[in-house]
Symmetry: C2
Subunit: 202 residues, 2 copies
Amino acid sequence: MTTDDDILDATFAALCKHGYADLTMQSIADEFSKSKSLLHYHYDSKEDLIVTFMEHLLEGFLSEFEDDSDADPLDQLVRMAEIVVEGNEEGDEPDDVHMALLGLRAQAPYDEAIREQLVRNDRHIRDAIADIVREGIEQGQFREDVDPEQFAVVFRSAIEGAQSHDVILGDDAPTETALAGVKTLLLERLIVEGETLEGQTA
Amino acid sequence: MTTDDDILDATFAALCKHGYADLTMQSIADEFSKSKSLLHYHYDSKEDLIVTFMEHLLEGFLSEFEDDSDADPLDQLVRMAEIVVEGNEEGDEPDDVHMALLGLRAQAPYDEAIREQLVRNDRHIRDAIADIVREGIEQGQFREDVDPEQFAVVFRSAIEGAQSHDVILGDDAPTETALAGVKTLLLERLIVEGETLEGQTA
């Protein structure tokens, strides 16, 4: 791993352990295996580190879809919903990244650097969704009367809302129903004909 | 106002001013105009006060819909979306209640009393949405092939996700587009015929 990757891993580990409110450069340094002076050489403050960490999360997320431009548009939106709603954790545990994101989002009204990075992430993710919808319309898979930008906003709200509920409500979150409902929404709102998803009863 | 109302107002004022992490019984007492001993007589801890405050918010929210059982089911869902997404604030300012809710939701993974109350609120709100959908199906306004519980989960995720974005992203939140998209979703998913909403271009 590069030093940058090590620094971001240390930031994530410290964020999971302490939460953003109690995060300090020292708590990040405590998770960092290399020389502490490297950390201070690369980054001035915990805000710098967190903003870079959030950029890194976004790039990782978007690369799942950009690398896959041959994929079926419907399959891409279903995969995005699965990643955003359920995350990468096995079983019922909320995803650590989702826990960290919830904490950072709650800080946004009080921390301009975090808010601005969330605004950039929001625009990129909405653009990615709208691009997939436009591609689906061009291919004739999606209905022509769907507004890609408007659909992107609602789809994103629905999957991020379900992600938040998964983290906030824990075992009592209706996560499977949310994901099934989002798939139904995609089929009903977007698909030209009576196409169905694999493994989904129509 | 009753003493209970005064206590809840003081709790809300202190929560807005300090956030949950820095909230103390003393900071609530500072916002309370009556004898401080009344506060301690009625409530043991800030958790007690916050849970009661959240119950109170839920009752106020649900009473908007329960008192209005003669209303048109589509209009009820539109009104719910408007209240949840935009709140009661004039102009572009995020609603204070929504700001407070975001902070409380972020605490849920670390605070069992708050999580349990959010789980109760979640169930009541989902039940209220599903009841409206069932009523719409019975009246013949909504399609019979809609699953009321599944629709309730997705609708709630979409409107709460949009609310969170409104608070988190501030002026850069796509709140109007989110609300227009939710209305389109209601028309496309629920309505039997080509009915349109007042003021909405089809």
